[in-house]
């Protein structure tokens, strides 16, 4: 096979398609496509992975029996536990704490800080991490955080934008809490020392987000999550709150009703530890690494949906399990970065999706599901996509348009992370467009909560991506980092108040797990899978095929 010739980071064949994008740019800048009507949205959504037939099935056991969810999620819910009762000695807990927080992303870390702020002793809080503290989706948020703090904005407007984006399925009381606390969270972050993009006079620079009717997005260059998270983590470490790493929770413990602790597993040595906790806050994040419908993902290595499994076995109710968020603009080329996120802020700063003929085929700021479906339609129904060397199709994201609108040098300044990533592959995104295709991004649904993060189970709170309700069936950009901090804080405070009522530590048992196994057996589900899966499997097939399991 002949060597492929590369020009400015692209194979020659693809590079030759770029002039079309350059030629049409100034015309497109003046002739922006209109936003879709309700009917048009409904039509295009038929080709969204959520609504295309074949991806889902019914949950057959547990509190959400009869609801539908992606097959990959139902597989986890129907899997057998990693540990059986008899293997674990629960009689002497290794940790006895007031509040145990599972998962140290933005939500879990904020929960710890606020529980401490409420007067819970630092040694009576334990943050449990599957990987390192911060190996999480939170650290990757690029685009921004919403909060209605401009004079022309209002809390009810934030509410309306969000519930419309969520197809009017969001849980009203929980959504209200989100928008009501938004400005306070911005204040809190500012006090902690987060460096948001600001105007000369000190006002926040606020940008559009897909599906918002007003500029409401606060960002820290394109490292919003990194900046917010590293500040919050720095605050957490300064307070010397208890923390363990590479020690995932593999099962919750209950006394039959209440949640009373968890079994943790040392990923390196295989040893387990037992935690007794009067209150448990679940903040284990999302499930992108399940690769729903075979899509690549933007999520971190540990996003395997563990929290949903643990809570469900203990009896907590889930909601909105039937939808998943695909981000419209994942990288489609080069092969090393397929599925990585290209932040929505690129579009809100002026970049347009463009097809092979140089046409802007969709309004750039539709809600994510609509935008993603429109790109899939362009590639696979209208056949106006560009096929990459790996066989994936994509469309252009016309990034040079950003500088047309905001001036030369803007990309390097506003998108240093993305610019750096593409430069590693010789692509200059200020000069040439980049190739995109939707990627699996966010767990819309999850464990149902009330406005302070309580679940249907006593002793269990939930915050962040693992929760369900606040975003309904589709989340808007910038509402998730906000969600993590609003409900991280609310759960931390609520759990602390619960402790202060003098609650006693409950018994530690795995009875709920035995009962769940009984249900699985009654439903005639074979024990061919185990969950939580903790880490995805990416080892090469060849090496796996020859793997031996021997004790040394």
């Amino acid at each position: 096979m002949a060597e492929v010739k590369y020009i400015e980071g692209y194979p020659e064949e693809i590079f030759q398609l770029i002039p079309k994008v350059h030629e049409t740019r100034s015309w497109r800048a003046e002739n922006i496509p209109a936003a879709m009507t309700k009917e048009e949205r409904q039509e295009v959504l038929k080709i969204h992975p959520d609504w295309a037939p074949g991806g889902k099935r019914k949950i057959v056991v547990g509190p959400n029996q009869g609801d539908i969810a992606p097959r990959e999620v139902v597989d986890l819910l129907e899997a057998y536990p990693l540990i059986e009762k008899q293997e674990v000695d629960l009689s002497i807990p290794d940790y006895q704490v007031d509040i145990m927080v599972l998962g140290g992303g933005l939500a879990g870390t904020a929960a710890c800080i606020w529980a401490h702020e409420m007067g819970i002793d630092k040694d009576k809080i334990l943050l449990v991490n599957k990987l390192r503290h911060g190996d999480a989706n939170s650290i990757m948020a690029e685009g921004g955080t919403q909060a209605a703090d401009r004079k022309v904005d209002s809390l009810e407007r934030h509410y309306l934008d969000t519930i419309g984006g969520g197809h009017f399925t969001n849980k009203p009381d929980v959504l209200r809490a989100l928008v009501e606390d938004g400005p306070f969270i911005m204040h809190w972050l500012h006090e902690l020392g987060v460096i948001f993009d600001k105007e000369e006079n000190g006002d926040f620079v606020e940008k559009w987000g897909g599906g918002t009717s007003i500029k409401r997005m606060h960002s820290c260059r394109d490292y919003t999550g990194l900046e917010e998270f590293r500040v919050i983590r720095d605050e957490f470490i300064s307070r010397k709150i208890g923390c363990i790493e590479h020690f995932p929770a593999v099962e919750l413990l209950t006394d039959g009703d209440k949640v009373t602790g968890a079994v943790l597993y040392n990923l390196e040595t295989g040893e387990y530890k037992v935690v007794a906790a009067k209150a448990t806050i679940l903040a284990t994040g999302g499930f992108g690494r399940l690769h729903i419908r075979g899509f690549p993902t933007t999520n971190h290595y540990g996003a395997t949906g563990d929290g949903v499994v643990l809570a469900y076995r203990a009896g907590a109710k889930l909601r909105d399990t039937d939808t998943v968020q695909y981000h419209p603009t994942g990288a489609a080329y080069p092969v090393q970065i397929i599925g990585y996120l290209l932040t929505e802020k690129l579009r809100t700063s002026g970049a347009q999706p463009v097809n092979i003929d140089g046409e802007a085929f969709v309004f750039a700021m539709e809600p994510r599901d609509v935008e993603a479906a429109a790109i899939i339609r362009e590639c696979y129904v209208r056949n106006k996509g560009i096929t990459t060397p790996s066989g994936l199709r994509g469309v252009w994201l016309d990034t040079p348009m950003i500088e047309l609108k905001n001036g030369k040098g803007y990309i390097e300044k506003a998108f240093p992370g993305m610019d750096r990533m593409f430069r590693r592959y010789d692509i200059d995104m200020a000069k040439n467009p980049v190739l995109i295709f939707p990627t699996l991004h966010y767990q819309n649904g999850g464990v149902e909560t009330d406005p302070v993060g309580r679940t249907t189970l006593e002793g269990l709170w939930v915050a962040g991506e693992v929760s369900g309700g606040v975003h309904g069936k589709n989340r808007l950009m910038g509402n998730s980092t906000l969600d993590c901090m609003v409900f991280g804080r609310r759960t931390g405070i609520s759990a602390a108040e619960y402790i202060k009522k003098g609650k006693k530590q409950g018994k530690l048992t795995l009875e709920h797990v035995s009962n769940y196994v009984k249900m699985l057996k009654e439903a005639k589900i074979k024990p061919k899978r185990r969950s939580p899966i903790l880490l995805p499997e990416y080892r090469g097939k060849k090496s796996l095929a020859r793997a031996l399991h021997v004790e040394v």
């Binding site: 934008d161 290595y301 096929t387 590693r424």
Partner: protein
């Protein structure tokens, strides 16, 4: 590569085609599809791996399952710091395993942890002064300006410049030059003066973020309005609206002009 016109596909088929095209990313490349191979040496042992993988995915291809040394997989978390040397060269290079393409003859080892000290403080009680940095990180004064930290940086930041800026009390430069830091720890591990550059810069940035410019007035005003109950009624009303009422409001809402 223009697509040939094909007949309209049904959505389920489209999903299958997408999954098929994504398989190498999601489930790993198949040997038969690989055109170019390179040999890398993981802690000295050689493996033949596909040439267009990153260090991270190449190690997985070779059979390693990461517990440490892998977090975000996208260049944000700093878990996958790697030191490598190319065959025949004396120079040690650093890079993030998830962001660095494999090269033939690469000898590598991951450094997934750095035993660095981080100071504890209550940021609201710390003065916005260079002395605060020196109080918590006195090693800062030992910088000999050797530039080893800059050479070690996996993000290509001008680390020594921001250290020198901090010593001068130039917070602005220190903040701007260190902003893209993912705290992987390579600078601190290479520094002959044992400075923990990334933790020092974290403190500098927090001081700057809090103190350099006041809280925006529009935010302070909004907090006051919330406290006075300005939004209680509108929120009471909107949370009670039916789906039909909300739909009407939503689809007719005015957009702010750009």
């Amino acid at each position: 590569m223009k697509e040939t016109k094909s007949k309209k596909l049904d959505p389920e088929k489209v999903m299958e085609r997408i999954a098929e095209a994504s398989r190498p990313t999601v489930a790993g490349v198949e040997e038969k599809d690989v055109r170019h191979w390179v040999t890398i040496y993981v802690m000295g042992r050689g493996y033949s791996v596909p040439a267009d993988l990153t260090i991270l995915t190449a190690m997985e291809y070779a059979g390693y399952k990461f517990i440490r040394g892998c977090g975000c997989r996208q260049g944000f978390c700093g878990a996958c710091s790697t030191v490598y040397r190319r065959h025949g060269e004396y120079k040690l290079q650093t890079g993030m395993a998830c962001q660095t393409r494999v090269e033939d003859g690469m000898y590598l080892v991951q450094i997934p942890f750095s035993p660095a000290e981080k100071a504890s403080y209550d940021i609201s009680k710390e003065a916005y002064k260079v002395n605060t940095l020196l109080k918590h990180y006195p090693e800062l004064a030992r910088c000999v300006a050797c530039n080893t930290c800059t050479k070690a940086c996996t993000q290509d930041l001008q680390v020594m410049d921001y250290i020198q800026a901090a010593i001068r009390g130039d917070f602005e430069t220190c903040v701007n030059e260190s902003f893209d830091c993912i705290q992987c720890g390579m600078c601190a591990l290479r520094c002959p003066a044992e400075i923990v550059q990334y933790n020092m810069a974290q403190l500098a940035r927090r001081l700057y973020g809090r103190n350099d410019r006041p809280e925006p007035k529009h935010l302070t005003d909004r907090l006051k309005e919330i406290e006075q109950g300005k939004f209680v009624k509108p929120l009471d009303e909107i949370t009670k609206k039916s789906k039909e009422e909300l739909e009407k409001l939503y689809y007719s809402r005015e957009k702010e002009s750009d």
